[in-house]
């Protein structure tokens, strides 16, 4: 099977992870801009980070036959440094219309402060102006209220609900999101957000429509194979293969494909690897023979 992991922070993952993902059938990923585990201190760090997502990281993924798209935005945590946030919001428009940027994201609330509210609204307006998809991060604390507020504010800003993806849902929030017509994404973090077992039950209860599974793997203890593993469990528990395909490939493609920034012809072609290419002065190789022209099996 082929998989689309529409939320993963690849810059924190190793080439071994990329190899394992490719071997498990992950063919496309979306890397939303987030914080780095600690706050940045200057706008230049954001410029270079966004450029890395669009440049080196996309290249690195391509070396394993994985299509790498990204979402660009100022995250909610760092929105609280208001002076810096103002500068970042000035340069975000420079990046959101670039090739392969499939959404403004991940944006939304962390503590639901006034500063977060401001950054969220400015970026929603940017999304509406450019007819973009929006990827919303929902808070760990006070999640249900945060999600409902995210939906309300996005709706007021004029974001069409079919272009809104709310991430990190759970059993308590999914109904609100689906009822509004937005997409409900689920991050499979076994110990905190959502486990594969619970995910199976959710798909049984709600069906596959507008439900998306992702890994959100990052620099913490997380699993870049969450999507294929959850798909395997869904199949084992008797969920219709079409529903598994929808929640682990098709829905993500439909939701983020609305950006016009996914070149489906290129995505659906058999991937070809050319590790002899260089990016800046770097290669992903450290003396190994480069792999060239090897098709990646599904």
């Amino acid at each position: 099977m082929r998989f689309f992991d529409p939320h993963i922070h690849c810059i924190s993952r190793t080439t071994d992870d990329y190899q394992a993902m490719a071997d498990a059938g992950v063919r496309a990923v979306i890397e939303p801009a987030f914080w780095l585990g600690q706050p940045r201190t200057s706008v230049g760090s954001f410029v270079d980070y966004f450029s890395t997502l669009l440049g080196w990281e996309r290249f690195r993924a391509s070396q394993f036959g994985i299509h790498h798209y990204c979402a660009i935005g100022l995250n909610s945590k760092e929105a609280n440094n208001e002076g810096l946030a103002r500068e970042v919001l000035e340069i975000v428009p420079r990046f959101v219309t670039k090739e392969g940027v499939v959404a403004v994201g991940e944006i939304g609330y962390d503590e639901i402060t006034a500063a977060e509210e401001h950054a969220y609204q400015v970026q929603l307006e940017l999304a509406v102006q450019n007819e973009m998809v929006v990827m919303v991060h929902s808070p760990h604390r006070d999640k249900k209220r945060g999600i409902i507020r995210s939906l309300d504010v996005a709706q007021e800003a004029g974001v069409p609900m079919e272009k809104l993806i709310i991430d990190h849902n759970n059993e308590e929030t999914v109904r609100d999101v689906l009822d509004r017509g937005a997409w409900a994404a689920f991050t499979i973090y076994p110990h905190t957000k959502m486990g594969s077992e619970r995910m199976v039950e959710l798909v049984k209860e709600y069906g596959p429509q507008r439900i998306i599974v992702d890994s959100s793997a990052d620099w913490g203890v997380s699993d870049p194979l969450s999507v294929p593993k959850t798909a395997a469990l869904m199949l084992e528990r008797g969920i219709d293969p079409a529903a598994v395909e929808a929640t682990t490939w098709g829905n993500a493609l439909a939701a983020y494909g609305q950006s016009g920034q996914i070149d489906e012809q290129a995505l659906l072609a058999t991937p070809v690897i050319d590790q002899t290419r260089l990016f800046e002065d770097n290669s992903v190789l450290r003396g190994q023979p480069p792999r060239v022209d090897q098709g990646v099996p599904n």
Binding site: R94, V96, K98, E99, N130, Q261, A266, L278, N282
Partner: protein, 302 residues
């Protein structure tokens, strides 16, 4: 006809109605004057409407480009970068300080595709020397796409680079594997020092037991005297058809067309023999190296 008109004509068959509308809208906006940020956003945003594909032009169109701007070849341009160059050329203030600043900003925030488009627009701009530092940065890149956008199929490097940048670009083409015959204007800017750099690289490669890229011999021209002669003779020892053709052409470029004719007479690979005969008859320009890319020669080389 202006280059921008040729580009629009070449691009048109690839555009859907919505893509054409989007490009026309962006062009109208740019022509009316836009902020630097807006310019960058429009330039980047064409990716939404135009997917990157080869233009697949006929020879006649490529020839027209070369007539409009000498050494400017759009043979390998993509649809998306063509759209972006059209948009850049759509500014009505290209000679102004504001335009220079907007282009500088665009370079600063550019991704790989935008960088290539910006670089490809440079020879078409008024006072192209304003952007010589950015062009030099492109030639410092190890991404072949970015390197070639400035170094290859463009008059820019030969025309505007200083000696250091020019020679670094030529030698670097050999390192990144960009075809040297596509570094336009090479034949007009050969000298003793460049030939010396190329021969130093030959020594380095031979010490390391690594093959010499056949393009390298283009750097010699008529320079470097006996040292060049010896290096060419050495290269013939155990050479394949592709190397033999490149060495024979290098001899002809040094005025030794009889040597090329001798090699042609004993050459059993038909394409290599054809290249050698052409060289013996006086076809000694860099463009002749295009024929060395023939798949059967490349396969024989490998």
């Amino acid at each position: 006809m202006k280059p921008s008109e040729l580009l629009r004509e070449a691009l048109a068959p690839h555009l859907s109605t919505t893509a054409q509308t989007a490009l026309d809208g962006a062009l109208a906006e740019v022509a009316g004057g836009v902020s630097s940020v807006r310019f960058g956003t429009l330039l980047a945003g064409l990716s939404r409407h135009i997917k990157s594909r080869p233009l697949e032009l006929g020879e006649a169109v490529v020839e027209r480009g070369l007539e409009l701007v000498p050494d400017w070849s759009i043979e390998r341009w993509s649809t998306l970068e063509t759209g972006r160059v059209v948009l850049i050329l759509g500014r009505s203030d290209l000679a102004s300080e504001a335009a220079a600043q907007a282009l500088e900003d665009a370079f600063k925030f550019a991704d790989e595709g935008e960088t290539c488009a910006l670089a490809k627009s440079l020879p078409l701009l008024p006072a192209p020397e304003r952007f010589v530092w950015r062009a030099g940065e492109c030639c410092r890149s190890n991404m072949r796409t970015v390197f070639e956008s400035t170094a290859c199929d463009s008059p820019y490097a030969a025309r505007y680079f200083d000696d250091v940048a020019w020679k670094q670009t030529v030698i670097k083409a050999l390192f990144v594997g960009a075809p040297l015959w596509r570094v336009r204007g090479l034949d007009g800017r050969l000298d003793e020092d460049l030939a010396r750099m190329a021969l130093d690289l030959v020594d380095e490669r031979r010490s390391a037991g690594r093959p010499i890229p056949p393009d390298l011999w283009l750097c010699l021209g008529g320079f470097a005297g006996e040292r060049a002669e010896r290096a060419l003779e050495d290269e013939l020892q155990g050479a394949g058809a592709r190397q033999r053709a490149a060495v024979g052409l290098a001899f002809a470029r040094r005025g030794e067309s009889a040597r090329a004719a001798d090699l042609a007479a004993t050459e059993d690979h038909p394409i290599a023999a054809r290249i050698l005969r052409a060289a013996a008859e006086g076809r000694i320009d860099q463009e002749l190296h295009r024929a060395l890319e023939d798949p059967s020669l490349v396969a024989a080389h490998a």
